[in-house]
Amino acid sequence: MPVPRAIAEPVAALINEFSKLPTIGPKTAARLVFYLLNRPRHEAQALAEAILAVKDKVHLCTTCYSLTEHDPCDLCSDERRDASMICVVAEAKDIYAIERTGAYKGRYHVLGGLISPMDGIGPAQLRVKELVERVGADAPAEIILATNPNAEGEATALYVGRLLQPLGMAVTRLAYGLPIGGDIDYADEVTLARALEGRRVL
């Protein structure tokens, strides 16, 4: 005789699927499922279709390797953007962070991660070769390396910088410094020291 189930099979299956997602544990997964059970069918359908659409319609841009529906992506095909600058980022999500500032009007290049030999990620696993080829073909005036200020981000920036410098354009790195609205006496010694190194004339 089958063991009686406390939860209907489809409900258990969906809880299981949700709990595979990052930052979602079994309890949150169950809450999401019970929430969806109480919503009208069309909302559930919209969610299911949106998930499938992401998988079916979104591809990598063959120029910058960002996520896009059409190739080349909107950012790469926008003629108003400055093609003489390329901002190199680790992940596509970093583009959204920089775009939110509204302070940058150039193009992008997504590496697809950061170099870390201990995790088996070398330059060959990332889009480094593609960047060098693109830079060689387009000859931009400046490359901005916008990787995270941690050990892997630093190493990746140094490495990419070494490959690009012989090509002759300006290679720059994001500045380090104090957070806006912060207090100097709350900053840690290392950040403060880097901010001093990177000071500029008023």
């Binding site: 870390s116 050990a151 630093e154 190493a155 490495y159 010694e189």
Partner: protein
């Protein structure tokens, strides 16, 4: 530096414990296995954020509990700060959290808020043991004193791990290897210079203490023995030596598949009357030299931070003969606050407050 109030929750054999230590020397008395060292371990964690007894820190969580907590109020000339260190059990390894005035902070922001000098019986093996013990001593002392040192140490170790991963995998991308070596040279030079300076300061104090004890008959020397020998203790000279050394050992590193050059292979050497204590010193001579080193650590830290660190002695005095124990305490001088464990009350301790410990229970002795 003082900790007038300490609380433990689910730490080793303590479910809940509140402790109000006095200024001066606090003595924890009790038979073996009652929890004396556990208390000292907890107090040390408020300073260093690490256990001095185990690298598997989930061991400090009391059986059946999910997290161990130590909190304390540190009074220093900088004011009063509330410190907390938590060890939470996780699926694979323990997760640690550090609190300053109730806020979660990174380890680097926690370390050194309460300066401590710990002395445990294992330290007595330092001279005869592996070089890694002596490097660990230098790293622990310097990280507490100088936040930038800890930052450079982490940077160095990270780049070293990456370089070793590359050497092992044989995917020798020369350009990438040089990126890691550039970081190793930068961070390694900072470590080199800080260690050199620290060993000189330690050598001075250790020699003084030792001279008093031996009535001037034996001369103790401490020498920094860097893996990369530089012409002079200057930034440029060390960078140059490091670069040359790396180039000279490039083939050897590829063959051995591991990084052979840099401060991760430094050593600290002890000489008595010009001969190596590690090779020729007796057990007793080695012990006396470690005592001198610990006295020096205490005084150097006091000088650098501008106030006396908290002294933690775990069963050390009972390991020593009466003359050495007395010499050590005399070398330290008056402590601002200290903690000592002992199985029986010893007239040598100028105890300010005595606590009797019996199976995780604490009683202040009149």
């Amino acid at each position: 530096m003082r900790l007038p109030h300490i609380e433990l929750t689910n730490f080793r054999n303590y479910r809940e414990l509140e402790l109000e230590p006095a200024a001066g020397l606090n003595v924890f008395l009790g038979a073996n296995a009652q929890g004396k060292s556990n208390l000292l371990e907890a107090i040390a964690m408020l300073g260093t954020g690490k256990s001095f007894r185990t690298s598997r820190e989930s061991e400090v969580i009391r059986e059946g509990a999910s997290r161990a907590v130590v909190t304390g109020e540190a009074h220093s000339r900088m004011g009063i700060v509330r410190l907390g260190c938590m060890v939470e059990s996780g699926p694979r390894s323990a997760h640690k959290r550090y609190l300053v005035n109730g806020k979660d902070v990174r380890y680097a922001r926690f370390l050194g808020r309460a300066a401590v000098v710990t002395f445990v019986p294992a330290d007595l093996q330092m001279i005869g043991g592996a070089p890694s013990l002596r490097r660990a001593f230098l790293n622990a002392a310097l990280s507490q004193e100088q936040p930038p040192y800890y930052h450079e140490l982490v940077r160095y170790q990270r780049a070293l791990t990456q370089k070793n991963a590359m050497l092992r995998s044989e995917t020798a991308d020369r350009e990438l290897l040089e990126v890691y070596e550039q970081t190793l040279i930068e961070a390694g030079t900072a470590l080199w210079l800080a260690r050199d300076e620290a060993v000189q300061a330690l050598a001075l104090h250790a020699e003084q203490a030792h001279r008093r004890w031996s009535a001037g008959t034996e001369h103790l020397e401490l020498r920094y023995h860097p893996n990369v020998p530089a012409q002079a203790p200057t930034h440029d000279a060390v960078v140059e030596a490091f670069t040359t050394h790396l180039r000279a050992h490039r083939d050897a590193e590829r063959v051995r598949r591991t990084a052979l050059v840099g401060p991760h292979r430094d050593d600290l050497r002890f000489l008595l009357g010009g001969t190596s204590l590690a090779a020729y010193g007796s057990q007793g001579q080695q012990r006396t030299a470690v005592l001198a080193l610990k006295v020096a650590e205490y005084h150097v830290m006091r000088k650098r931070t501008g106030e006396a660190p908290i002294l933690l002695l775990d069963d050390v005095l009972s390991e020593l003969d009466a003359a050495r124990a007395a010499a050590f305490l005399e070398g330290i001088g008056d402590v601002d606050q200290g903690f000592v464990t002992a199985t029986e009350l010893d007239s040598r301790f100028p105890a300010a407050r005595k606590f009797e410990i019996d199976a995780g229970r604490l009683r202040v002795q009149a």
